[in-house]
């Protein structure tokens, strides 16, 4: 299963603009989630600081996609 890719890395200015347009970001560890992909239970989210969080199908957080 190929690892999904984030489409657009949002700058702080873009995030501020979206919030000004009433977009509400979900949060993870007090960081805004700027992208998400869920493939058959495998989840990856991208955060505003450029980091990514991966969770496998068993709900465990892992470092690599597919682990």
């Amino acid at each position: 299963m190929e690892k999904p890719q984030i489409s657009t890395n949002l700058t702080a200015e873009k995030i501020a603009q979206l919030q000004a347009d009433d977009h509400v970001f979900k949060m993870h560890d007090n960081k805004k989630i700027i992208g998400k992909a869920d493939q058959d239970g495998y989840l990856i989210i991208w955060l505003e600081d450029g980091s990514e969080i991966i969770r496998n199908a068993d709900g465990e957080f892992v470092k690599e996609w597919g682990a």
């Binding site: 690892k3 489409s7 949002l10 977009h23 700027i34 992909a37 493939q39 058959d40």
Partner: protein, 261 residues
């Protein structure tokens, strides 16, 4: 002489002969039907032509193409080569005779009794039959169900959409391969898919099949400022074709429920 066909039973009453025995019938004719026979047996016409017959088989000789004269056999010999006793009775006659019944023998035989029974004997000798009310009722119910499914009725078709056995995928500001062409070995059913995006034409989302958009929009084709909601369900994707999804902004979503067959 009357031109009406003449048919009589031979012998007058059915008889039984032992295996290996023969029974001669010295009767000319152009038509013969096996009225009754307990097994397949051999008929020898004019001590020359041997044919295998069974109950309800018929033989009718044609007219000579050149002379137009009706062909006839002079006599018939029943040979019991069945391996056991044979009980039989024939009908022999001449004249122009045809019936509205058809009997066939060989690898496949079909025998019907009006309204209630159809029997099919396979080459291997297995008898398939529909001869009871419960089976008839089940077949009728199946026919009705299939008819309803085939109707272009949205309410009935909705029953096809089930998530049982299906996987899901969801993309927001991300893209991925839902099912690769290599993983799609036997086809995929898209049970339900939905895309939405809100914003300008760079905020599109779509689901592609074989590299072509199934639902949603691509860059440059999305409205400059507006919302799009597209959904689709119960689509079969042939084997070897990839399914991909793409969302280009936080305001765009692509969701799919699918079953890999």
């Amino acid at each position: 002489m009357s031109n009406f066909p003449r048919v009589q039973q031979y012998p007058k009453r059915k008889i039984t002969i032992a295996n290996g025995e023969g029974y001669n019938i010295n009767r000319k004719g152009s038509f013969l039907r096996v009225r009754e026979a307990t097994a397949k047996f051999t008929l020898i016409f004019d001590e020359t032509h041997e044919l295998q017959f069974e109950q309800n088989d018929r033989l009718r000789l044609l007219r000579d193409e050149q002379s137009g004269e009706q062909k006839q056999f002079e006599k018939v010999r029943v040979l019991n080569d069945t391996g056991s006793d044979l009980t039989f009775q024939l009908e022999i006659g001449d004249g122009e005779i045809s019936t509205n019944n058809t009997a066939s023998s060989g690898e496949t035989a079909v025998r019907t009794n009006p309204d209630t029974e159809v029997q099919i004997q396979t080459k291997a000798g297995t008898t398939l039959k529909v001869d009871d009310d419960a089976t008839q009722t089940a077949i009728s119910a199946l026919e009705t169900a299939l008819t309803n499914l085939l109707k272009n009725d949205q309410d009935k078709r909705s029953g096809l959409t089930t998530f049982e056995g299906a996987s899901s995928a969801e993309y927001n500001n991300s893209s991925g391969t839902v099912v690769s062409s290599g993983a799609n070995t036997s086809g995929v059913i898209i049970r339900y898919a939905h895309v939405s995006h809100h914003g300008n034409n760079q905020d599109f989302a779509h689901i592609k099949v074989g590299g072509k958009i199934l639902i949603g929009r691509d860059a440059g084709t999305a409205p400059s400022n507006g919302n799009i909601e597209h959904s689709i369900k119960d689509v079969f994707i042939p084997a070897g074709v990839a399914i991909t999804a793409d969302s280009q902004s936080v305001g765009a979503w692509a969701t799919i429920w699918y079953e890999v067959l």
